[in-house]
Symmetry: C2
Subunit: 420 residues, 2 copies
């Protein structure tokens, strides 16, 4: 069988290490030129396939592809673009197949989260139905760590390391000045529905009294009274209180704290910033001096403090996806299996994308302390290996170097304009 | 002359490298035991002297003191506590001298900003008046970089590196998803009166169109119309817009943007968060999807990404202060003099604390681009050497290691309780 081309696309929120997965795909494909002639990367993810806007990665040097391993963001552009169901928008799926046919694309690598695995699954089904030979592989990626089946998700280890390090550092700042200055510090982190990232803040605390003193998880309905009592206890016992709050922290009725009604001068509802909501509560009910930080995109782009384990795993799932494809496996995603906590041992295995699509793995109860404000030892054993090791990017003039790509476009063959 | 003791205190907001200055003081003093018998560190800064609450640093191992070089926060506690004028509160100054007498303290090292240099100056004056032989040395420290005379301030280089790196990383995240997601990203940084930290964000941009596209300085009165036009231009030309905003950004009448009137659900004015004010402006006037991050204490405690130049200078000013003291210099502070930009060369010189006390050095006009939204090449030449080099702390289990001190208290000799 002559070599065919591969299509690779990044999907959804990017991570500090998604480009390491891209490097894993491209470098592994380059070792099998007899089967994969070229990897075309979608510009802006799947939109690049729909609009025939693809990047010819064969035109990129080996050094540039290797540099992807330390480049944050999505090197080819990612997209928040979910293909609708086959029934609702068959035209889009057919368009994908049409573009793949026109460019002799026999391999589809989709690097994303739950939604993307759903898309990979549907594309595989439709290709089969249309009798177009296409090998569809999912590649896991999400800072949220909420994919089922896999022990953890590439992208999470690095955000976890960022949050744990930042919590430890900020806590040392706060405690050293608590006598005469800020007593309560709040760090807002990502995680709309699952508290994995917030839990990682808990790694900073090793002994009783250590920060963080409170973690607010989306999985634990917010109890204002218990929360304020805990803040007061912490300030009274330790002179300060460090709080890590997930953006998804919510009241028992499901309303996000962040939606809880701050209004601007014009009376417009103001969204976002659960940290400021919590801070106001502390100020109004307890009167302590506070500060808050919102990590936002800094946390998921912080390649400078990436976890070495995470970088390695992100690369490994990209490389494994290509190997599986070459073995003829389709509609699968490489998942990470944990063999042991200490020493930390892991392996990569294939799992059907259908098992991963549209499912969300929340923080299990056994990972949350009884009072709901902290993590358990079991959680610590799970999280700790994922933030191990530093994988520093090279620097130039004080700033991290990043991949310089040529972005040579693949010549369109269909020519028509597809409206998305 | 028999050896006497030294008193060392940290003052005001801490930095990622203030403990490197402490290490410089203690390690240098240990080399001159015949003159400095012991360094007593004030617990919670100057409050520790007033309340006779001091830490015996002779009880700390060489390894623990060396570890201060990579430990953020204020290892002995810092304080936001400004001694009033000599006329208003002579008792406090006299108490200081009394404590120094009781513990045979002949050297006073005060590690802080403008206020602290004022205190060092006054203590020197009073000691002279009271004929108590005391050598008073200031040691510069401030993330704000606003001390006069010195070319730059220890603590600033590291926060500058953090802000430059974070701006670069977050920008790569935003640009890769701008097609279908966030178009405007806002990073709020410190700097209530001077825009040095915000300016550091400008280092991330090297070519036209690079982020950050807009910097809002305290030195430039905010012009909403010009700002919004620039945001629109940036999104239209580059598909995204990254904004670095100083917490001190203000309207022409001096009102901080952060005070500009957001109210909570109960109608209470909500302070803080200039980023959210700017974000709301963008949403209401332009309708772009936005995100914002507030770096807050993360930026000044981020020892994990400290500038190697900054760490070296922080240590050097501590060491120089001890050398000056041993040479009999008093009421001086070691300042950093720049010999050349490229290669970057610097030296330490003494300067009278009176020249530094209570003065603020703002960003000069020639460092701000004509349109008021960026930095000039002169600014870049000034800033770049300060973020050079990485000085990583050692890690254990994925987290930075920090100094473990014994904190053995110095036995009080006065016994009475002094109310502060």
């Amino acid at each position: 069988m002559p070599a065919r081309n591969a299509f690779y696309a990044q999907s959804g929120g990017v991570t500090a290490v998604i480009n390491a997965s891209a490097a894993g795909v491209i470098e592994t494909a380059r070792k099998h030129k007899s089967k994969i002639a070229n990897v075309y990367a979608g510009r802006n993810g799947i939109i690049g396939a729909l609009t025939e806007d693809m990047i010819d990665t064969n035109r990129e040097s080996a050094a540039a592809i290797a540099a992807l391993k330390y480049t944050p963001g999505g090197a080819f552009g990612s997209a928040r673009y979910k293909l609708r169901s086959l029934e609702d928008n068959r035209a889009e799926y057919e368009r994908l197949i049409e573009v793949f046919k026109a460019h002799d694309i026999g391999y589809f690598f989709y690097n994303g989260g739950n939604d993307s695995m759903d898309t990979a699954h549907k594309v595989a089904l439709l290709a089969k139905e249309m009798r177009f030979p296409l090998t569809c592989l999912g590649i896991p990626k999400t800072v949220d760590n909420d994919l089922p089946v896999t022990d953890n998700c590439p992208g999470f280890g690095s955000v976890a390391k960022y949050v744990a390090v930042s919590t430890q550092e900020a806590a040392m700042d706060v405690v050293s000045m608590a006598k005469t200055s800020t007593k309560v510090f709040i760090l807002e982190v990502m995680g709309r529905h699952a508290g994995w990232i917030a839990a990682a803040g808990g790694l900073a605390g090793k002994a009783p009294g250590d920060a963080p003193h409170i973690i607010l998880f989306p999985e634990v309905p917010f109890d204002e009274k218990a929360f304020l009592a805990r803040v007061r206890d912490s300030v009274e016992n330790y002179e300060y209180c460090v709080i890590v709050v997930s953006e998804g922290a919510a009241y028992p009725d499901g309303t996000f704290l962040a939606e809880a009604g701050t209004r601007d001068a014009f009376g417009h509802a103001q969204l976002g910033g659960v940290a400021s909501v919590v801070a106001n509560m502390v100020r109004e009910k307890l009167g302590y001096k506070y500060h808050y930080a919102i990590a936002d995109y800094l946390q998921r782009s912080a390649r400078h403090i990436a976890s070495a384990v995470d970088v390695k795993q992100a690369y490994a799932v990209g490389a494994a996806a290509v190997r599986y494809a070459l073995e003829g496996k389709t509609a699968v995603m490489p998942v990470i299996k944990r063999r042991s906590d200490s020493p930390y041992r892991w392996a990569i295995e294939p799992a059907p994308v259908a098992r991963i699509a549209n499912k969300e793995k929340k923080l299990p109860k056994r990972f949350i302390s009884k009072d709901g404000f902290g993590i358990t030892e079991a959680c610590r054993r799970y999280l700790e290996p994922l933030i191990r090791g530093e994988d520093y990017p090279p620097y130039s003039k004080g700033l991290p170097r990043t991949a310089k790509l040529k972005y040579v476009p693949v010549k369109p063959r269909l020519g028509d304009e597809f409206m998305i």
